[in-house]
Amino acid sequence: MPTSVMPTSKRNGPRPPAAVSAVGLRKSYGDKAVLDGIDLAIPAGSVFALLGPNGAGKTTTVKILSTLIAADGGQAQVAGHDLAGDPQAVRAAIGVTGQFSAVDGLITGEENMLLMADLHHLTRREGRRVSAGLLERFDLTEAAKKPAAAYSGGMKRRLDIAMTLVGSPRIIFLDEPTTGLDPRSRHAMWQIIRELVAGGVTVFLTTQYLQEADELADRIAVLNDGRIVAEGTADELKRLVPGGHVRLRFTDPAAYRAAASALGDATRDDASLTLRLAGDGSQRALRSVLDRLESARVEADELTVHTPDLDDVFFALTGGAVVPDPHEETVR
């Protein structure tokens, strides 16, 4: 799967068809422009993450691409069908799992599944088979006869995805699929998403968790205030922001002073006996640091490598919070 190719760059072989493409999507509510010209090109079979803070326009984007609401401007194709021109064809190709579980709480999990099977016009037998299989796969067989309203958050989300899969969609929109889930359920959801992708499904994911985008997505677009402010692979985005360093911490002031003189280019923090060295954390950079410490015969009590993570990128790009200054960052 291509993971690091910009839309404009050359690649070998034929381009996979775009599962989702959009040009200049706009949406306003009253005076407020929620989406201010969004361009997207998502190859089939990939995972795309739309990352942004609350209110950035993530859910609005999903609502437009899943035909729930109409864009005010711009155009988009989903699964090769025009959103405005043939929404029913788009609907036949997609599955949507919203931020708030789209399950019918008044009926049981099994009844929810059979409802989906009926709406996808499966035969009764086929419907029962598909529904039982998916309930089993998402570990819901035991709870199948209970009303969905009694499910935990993680179970509801699993039922939600299971319902989405009844129609075997080729493109799945997941709007903040792990928001509000505990860590175990979150990891279970990640595993589900990876399995979907392994099955050839295109996943369009929104999230406010950087780690999630980093874990799952082939490409990430950072959405802020209705605009895409950066797009690329996780690595490409991380390269946009400097801030990688190695940090050495000492308990013995003498060792600290010896190390500081051996590593002349280090930034000193005398109060906490900590040295920081700018660097990308590569093996070579680390070896050079260790060699210099070795020859000065000092040993650090703690060595940590800090690479810029998506948090740094996120804060730098969205400008919503103070970008931590490497020189003033306190010891974690």
């Binding site: 899943s66 035909t67 729930l68 609401i69 109409a70 029913q88 064809a89 609907r91 036949a92 997609i94 949507v96 919203g98 708030f100 579980s101 789209a102 399950v103 019918d104 709480g105 008044l106 009926i107 009844e111 929810n112 409802l115 009926d118 709406l119 996808h120 016009h121 009303p147 319902m163 129609g167």
Partner: protein
Amino acid sequence: MNSLPLAARDASTMLRRNLLHARRYPSLTLNLLFTPVMLLLLFVYIFGDVMSAGIGGGAGRSEYLAYLVPGILMLTIGGTTIGSAVSVSMDMNEGVIARFRTMAIHRGSVLIGHVVGSVLQCVLSVVVVGAVAVAIGFRSVDATVLDWVLAVGLLTLVSLALTWIAVGMGLSSPNAEAASNNAMPLMVLPLLSSAFVPVDAMPGWFRPIAEYQPFTPAIETLRGLLLGTETGHNAWLAVVWCLALAVLGYVWSRSLFEREPK
């Protein structure tokens, strides 16, 4: 691919979903039955002797029961459709409706499922309240088979008309409480009709209110069918009222449903 069978299939799936809701949570339907049954017993056993004077001709309690039942049956329909407005409004706040909107199903099937389910509930409620009426002595002596068929047809038509209006009220209400309040006229209008006393017995200023509303002609027509009283032009008026309300409610509900969700 023919779209009509698909539409019918989707609508019947949605109907099954609503019937499942009603069967699983019968309290809403049962609560709504309480009011017409209570009014029936109250007006017959407590106010009966006084009220019978209002219908003239030296009538007694049993004559008043006969007079009252058609109105109570119409009021039952009005009350049941309040429940429909509430359940539509509750349903629209469910995430699953958003899911339906992103699926390649017949657009109107969600509403049609609600409407057919509500009409069935209305008919069932009418049967229950009618059974109570029969149990306390109501008899329809003169009605022919055709009269009965027409009576059932009229009750169904009224149910359909009021249900479409109720669905519109449910769709336009932000939550269940608001839907219940907004749909109140469906219960209040029969109280202001000829259900309890003839329009002629009302004060002059009030008569137009009782006369120019759908319940009075519908009740008078039902009375004519079940008791053989004079219906006059009420039958046509009732049908026109019902068709007009059904079409209005349908157009209103469709446009509300097609409106962009928030």
